[in-house]
Symmetry: C2
Subunit: 271 residues, 2 copies
């Protein structure tokens, strides 16, 4: 079910700036029954994104009410909230008084197998590199062609994700998840001041981990980590089994973070 500006509807105006320019933001939120354990972090990121893109921020209470409507009767769901700068005169200039388009859509939770949680994922090493744009870095905005192109680099269904670097050869993230490496015993996650999306589960882990570094992570250093794992607010904590032909084993930090994910109230597919 989809609500557009609160009304059951499955279309948006063809003149919406979300479509014309990718002028907007989104959140992808996992629901387990009526609960969304990372809800408040999603709302925080959305509010920050609205501020940075100068979009009027919607009331989180209204969004909660609308997500309750679209997920009614679903045991497990993924809700995508999309905000755009609505319609306006043609051209890049922001309308003086924008009327934000608010799209709240529920999707069935994709089936997750236990094996990747137990044994880890194989990652393609992407040739696509993320451009550096500090004005957009960290935001979950609607300009996602880089991720689309990166994800199109491989077809092998055994590879569930790809590892993306920036133009300087720093590891940044997967195409749709954040990256953690354990280097010399210390968990590290890449700094996202120049590119990448600052995931909400990443933010959660930055508080949950007793010690963690946020810094540039050169690919070579990433590949000599004692463990690697991905964080996704939909898929949880996924250990990395291999990046191209470099092999890793799931390690204790990933296991601890999987336990943390379960403690947040998410289900147990990552047994």
């Amino acid at each position: 079910m989809i609500l557009v500006d609160g009304q059951p509807q499955d279309t948006v105006p063809a003149t919406d700036r979300g479509l014309l320019y990718g002028d907007g933001l989104f959140e992808t939120i996992r629901f387990t029954g009526k609960s969304a354990p990372l809800w408040s972090r999603h709302m925080q990121r959305l509010a920050l994104g609205c501020e940075r893109l100068r979009l009027p921020a919607p009331d989180p209470a209204l969004l909660w009410q609308e997500t309750a409507t679209v997920t009614r009767g679903m045991a497990e769901a993924v809700v995508r909230i999309t905000l755009t700068r609505g319609t306006g005169a043609r051209g890049y200039a922001m309308p003086a008084d924008p009327c934000v388009t608010r799209i709240v859509a529920a999707f069935a939770m994709p089936a997750l197998e236990a094996a990747p949680y137990r044994d880890g994922l194989r990652l393609h090493l992407c040739e696509t590199r993320l451009a550096e744009q500090p004005l957009l870095a960290g935001l979950k905005h609607l300009n996602r062609l880089e991720q689309v192109l990166a994800r199109a680099e491989w077809n092998d269904p055994a590879m569930a994700e790809g590892l993306l670097c920036d133009m300087h050869g720093h590891a940044i993230s997967a195409t749709a998840a954040n990256l953690f490496a354990v280097v010399d015993g210390v968990p590290v996650t890449p700094a996202l001041e120049r590119c990448g999306v600052a995931g909400v589960l990443r933010a959660e882990l930055l508080e949950a981990l007793p010690r963690v570094e946020v810094r540039d992570l050169p690919l070579a250093e990433c590949l000599r980590a004692s463990e690697l794992f991905l964080s996704s607010s939909v898929r949880g904590i996924l250990p990395v089994q291999a990046v191209a032909d470099k092999v890793f084993a799931p390690g204790p930090v990933a296991r601890a973070m999987q336990a943390h994910w379960r403690e947040l109230g998410f289900p147990m597919e990552q047994a």
Copy 2:
């Protein structure tokens, strides 16, 4: 009037990848009566963009027919053609067999005053810098948040455009037009291998100018040009009068290119 996949319609599915990810391309084409003098160049760029983004390219004859329908009865019009990768499963992976969404929309031609064509435009010098992404450079794709942010830097209605640089301080373009500078007597337009949109009027001018260089153009060099002008397939050739407080006078190359624009069959507002 708007046609979506050939049908009169003013909405698109809320699950369209153009909206979800900016996964698509567009062209903005000026019509004067039933004629679009730069049509074949627009079609060339669109075909190249489709190839680079792995989108099935539509038949130009079909697009021509649809633009004829949407512009019927309009003396002057701007047609926006938008192509997206349609709908598909959630996630960045391209659908194996994408069903492209094709949106053809006509807008009234905005009123253009003679003064800027005669005396030149004042440009804001943008702080927003264009990120460098060779995979997307040159394309008129739907990821336009940089242009939206750049255009939001100023409100002064006397400034019609802004000058954008890349992260290395090379002048690249205006927010919605290409840039030409005359340096030591030679017309130069910035190379667009790392960022920027390769405009169709720029392509036309590259053939029309007897001598022209396509290369990196450091901002300092741009600002000591003997003349500067912008090219836009909608607005034509616009001399630059000033960039911030640096003043220019419309020069002979801009005048010659304005004459060329008229010879292409466009009207005379740039008298």
